[in-house]
């Protein structure tokens, strides 16, 4: 059988980083082909090249056996490649038909277009009302617009980037019917997902990427979710240390039944999260990006207040309805994922950024409404010295520091307070090895001195290096926390794929 799309020895370099390394894969017509891999494995880079949004540094693509260059998304569409992105590009104030008309070549003929939309959506089981205004539609319905938009151009290859991440289980089932039907008509589908059960159910073929390389090409029906997870995560995760701290430390951070509603179409709602972090231990929250980590951090830090005071307790004191500064005064410290623009103001100096998070809990920094610049400069210098923050000037702007140095500063600024509870989101994201080691060591040291540390991370190597216990977050639900030594890579992979999620039916049964 002839191949529809072949990628031969495709390599993509971003500077020195190999996002894709000698990738070769083949997609047949009518095949639903899964791309599996962790964050940063190179799935998105690969599909962006197929869709013409990026150009390969080396290697080639063949389309129906013929060598092609795909210089732009327009060229990809011309070949018959359509893509449904994870984040939609729709105008909320316009109707379904108007949104689709904007993407279609040629003159507008709303009447004919509406009729075609109606017929395509009926044919493929994608119910859509052409005259509905997008603002009134659910996320699932919006996704249907994007799919119909692609289908109207009669694609031969449809790329779906994590389509079920934003869907309810019912909507996802509906989508699978549509995709199966499309495949039956000979349209190939490239399907990116982290959800292994889905892939097993739906896909005919799966290419697994790790660190930019193809590590396996398998028939998912013949694999178990566990074996897929092992391939994705790799067997090379070293479970190094097992220095279990005293289990008897007092509970310093307690989350009980924490709930938070999603505040936007792409946000994740947090459901019934319970977790205790004791003095002396590091607990890690693992998970694939976009499963509620950002919302979880906002809820724990108090940037978003919770409905019930009892949902969070710091050293036994309920603080669910308190804001971030009240929680800081209660002894907690927070380091967000984004260094620039969240953890620090890019255009402010380091000493001003000290004032940013410590003005409320450090009485010497702000007295009588005035900022004490000397005190701030002193703290900035102390932090810089303790954490070896390399800088060109004594008090430079935050944005002039390299990522690693700024991260050391942002973490050091909080550790300098000797907080009783530390919550860190992605402590070493995009940070060089030297700075990572410094930061991880400091985090573990803090815990060993009697603080409770909660680390949210997507980096399994990091988690196994520093965590005593590990919980996994998936679609806003948190698994139990297991001792790190008892967890295999396979088990973590399964938890990331949602093995602990309570099914809707289970909910119904309880209610």
């Amino acid at each position: 059988m002839d191949y529809l799309l072949e990628a031969l020895h495709v390599t993509k370099l971003f500077g020195a980083l190999k996002a894709n390394d000698d990738v070769t894969l083949r997609v047949k017509p009518g095949e639903i082909h899964a791309f599996l891999g962790e964050n940063g494995a190179g799935k998105s880079t690969l599909v962006k090249m197929i869709y013409g949004a990026l150009q390969p540094s080396a290697g080639e693509f063949r389309w129906m056996g013929r060598r092609v260059a795909i210089p732009s998304p327009a060229a990809a569409r011309k070949l018959g490649i359509g893509m449904v992105f994870q984040h939609f590009s729709l105008f909320e104030a316009l109707t379904v038909a108007e949104n689709i008309a904007l993407a279609m070549p040629g003159p507008f003929d709303m009447k004919a277009l509406s009729a075609r939309i109606a017929s395509v959506s009926r044919e493929y089981g994608l119910p859509l009302e052409p005259s509905a205004v997008v603002a009134d539609l659910s996320v699932g319905e919006r996704q249907r617009i994007e799919i119909v938009r692609c289908l109207l151009q009669e694609p031969r290859l449809l790329i779906m980037d994590e389509p079920t991440a934003v869907l309810t289980p019912q909507e996802a089932d509906q989508l699978f019917v549509t995709l199966t039907r499309l495949a039956g008509e000979g349209c190939a589908v490239i399907y990116i997902s982290h959800r292994l059960e889905e892939v097993k159910r739906l896909c005919h073929n799966a290419t697994i990427l790790r660190h930019g390389k193809v590590v396996a090409n398998v028939d998912p029906a013949e694999e178990t979710a566990a074996s897929l997870a092992r391939l994705m995560v790799g067997g090379d995760i070293h479970v190094v240390r097992a220095v279990a701290p005293d289990a008897g430390g007092a509970v310093r951070l307690a989350l009980s039944g924490l709930e938070l509603e999603a505040d936007g179409p792409f946000a994740v709602a947090l459901k019934d999260i319970s977790l205790e972090v004791r003095a002396g231990e590091v607990v890690a929250v693992a998970g694939v990006a976009g499963n509620g980590q950002a919302e979880f951090f906002d809820a724990v830090s108090g940037e978003r207040r919770l409905a019930d005071d009892a949902m969070i307790a710091l050293d036994g004191r309920p603080v669910g309805r308190s804001g971030v500064n009240a929680r800081r005064k209660a002894g907690a410290a927070f380091v967000p994922e984004e260094r620039l623009g969240h953890g620090a103001v890019p255009g402010f100096t380091l000493s001003q950024n000290v004032v940013l998070t410590r003005h409320a809990c450090d009485p010497q920094l702000a007295r009588g409404g005035f900022v004490n610049r000397e005190a701030a400069t002193g703290i900035a210098a102390r932090v810089s010295k303790a954490f070896d923050v390399r800088k060109a000037k004594p008090d430079p702007e935050a944005r002039s520091l390299s990522g690693g140095n700024l991260q050391k500063f942002v973490v050091g600024r909080e550790l300098d307070r000797r907080p009783g509870v530390l919550v860190v989101n992605q402590p070493t994201w995009g940070v060089d090895a030297g700075a990572s080691a410094t930061i991880r060591q400091a985090i573990v040291d803090l815990a060993r001195q009697g603080s409770a540390v909660l680390v949210i991370s997507q980096d399994l190597d990091e988690i196994f290096e520093i965590a005593d216990r590990i919980a996994v977050i998936s679609r806003g639900q948190l698994s139990d926390a297991y001792p790190a030594a008892s967890l295999s890579a396979e088990r973590i992979g399964l938890l990331m794929a949602g093995a602990h999620e309570r099914r809707e039916s289970a909910h119904a049964a309880r209610a």
């Binding site: 990026l54 623009g341 953890g343 998070t357 005035f370």
Partner: protein, 359 residues
């Protein structure tokens, strides 16, 4: 082939300070061209416009009188704009300040004790704050765009003023002129020559706000929220509270400017009234680099543009609307210069455009 604005990696701090001077120089050059097109000797006309007023004592006093409201309003706007709060409606808040201050002479003509003056000043501040509160609440409660709502309320204020002064508040002994009774005695601000107490208010306000923005936690909070709202939330600062604070502050100062202007200068409400201080103060805020002390210098400069306009009308017989032209050109060049600090212009061929879209 097309022009592309490309973000610069480095922003020069020196150019940020030089930008108003370059803009001013360009304005003078273009102004000279405009005078030349009208058949005037550009050097002489520019001298009459910009230099001659500074050589005469009465004009120097007028400069301070006109700069006072510009600085009062501009300093408040500078603070608001630093916090990314866009109060474009200072003109309306200025008018409301004048109106509420004018209420005392209109309804209590015989109230002639020092507390009348204090009451009028306070009423002016309250009027400006109340008018500014509307866009602040619309923004914080309903997410309405503050630029649009504050701007549109200017027109409401203008019609309200016009209706009151032509209608219920008209001076019965005023020979049907659209004006109120003359303010008298303690209803007026103390004066030294032409200069009235409003100049002192302006100076104090600018210096106090400078202190707030550079030394105080409140100023720090506003600057954080303006530069990085997410970081502001992380610091525990409330964006909504800052919006309300900035509107109340800038609106209150605009109201104070309106009250001082009627109490120190015209001594009555008459229509048509404002020379557009509320809008010109926007230029003042930007020209002063959103720094309350810079606003003092910028305010004097823009006051000169008003007086220069009157001067060329008298000396050379061209309309004093030329002042508006100069103010507009100055703002245009200032924004252009500021844009060039952040971006560079590049010519891009269609091939490059395709490459960029692809890569």
């Amino acid at each position: 082939m097309r022009l592309v604005l490309e973000k610069r990696a480095e922003h020069s701090a020196k150019m940020a300070l030089l930008s108003p001077i370059i803009a001013l120089a360009l304005t003078v050059v273009v102004g000279g061209v405009i005078f030349a097109l009208r058949g005037l000797d550009p050097v002489e006309a520019l001298y009459v416009y910009f230099i001659e007023p500074l050589t005469q004592d009465w004009a120097r006093q007028q400069l301070i009188v006109k700069a006072a409201p510009l600085v009062l309003i501009g300093a408040g706007l500078a603070v608001a704009y630093s916090a990314n709060v866009w109060n474009i409606g200072a003109e309306g808040q200025f008018i409301l300040g004048a109106l509420l201050a004018g209420m005392v002479p209109v309804y209590f003509t015989s109230w002639q004790t020092p507390d009348a003056m204090v009451a009028m000043i306070l009423l002016g501040v309250i009027g400006g704050m109340a008018w500014a509160m509307a866009p602040a609440v619309l923004k914080t409660r309903f997410g309405a765009n503050d630029i649009l709502s504050s701007l549109m309320l200017v027109y409401v204020a203008q019609f309200l003023f016009d209706w009151l002064v032509r209608g219920p508040w008209r001076d019965p002994q005023g020979f049907n002129f659209p004006k109120t009774v003359n303010f008298d005695g303690w209803q007026l601000l103390p004066r030294w020559g032409d200069i009235h107490l409003g100049a002192l208010f302006a100076l104090i306000a600018a210096l106090a706000l400078f202190l707030m923005m550079t030394r105080m936690l409140k100023g720090f909070e506003l600057k954080v929220l303006g530069a990085a709202p997410r970081a502001g939330r992380f610091a525990g600062f409330s964006g909504a509270r800052a919006v309300i604070f900035c509107f109340l502050l800038s609106g209150g100062l605009a109201g104070l400017a309106g009250a001082s202007d009627v109490m120190g200068l015209s001594g009555q409400l008459q229509t048509p009234y404002s020379p557009g201080y509320g809008f010109v103060a926007i230029i003042v805020a930007f020209l002063g680099r959103l720094n309350p002390v810079g606003v003092i210098i910028a305010g004097l400069l823009l006051a000169l543009s008003f007086i220069g306009g009157e001067n060329v009308q008298v000396a050379l017989g061209i309309s004093d609307k030329i002042a508006k032209v100069f103010q507009g050109i100055l703002l245009f060049f200032l924004l252009a210069c500021d844009t060039m600090i952040l971006y560079r212009i590049r010519l891009e061929t269609s091939r490059q455009a395709a490459a960029r879209a692809g890569g």
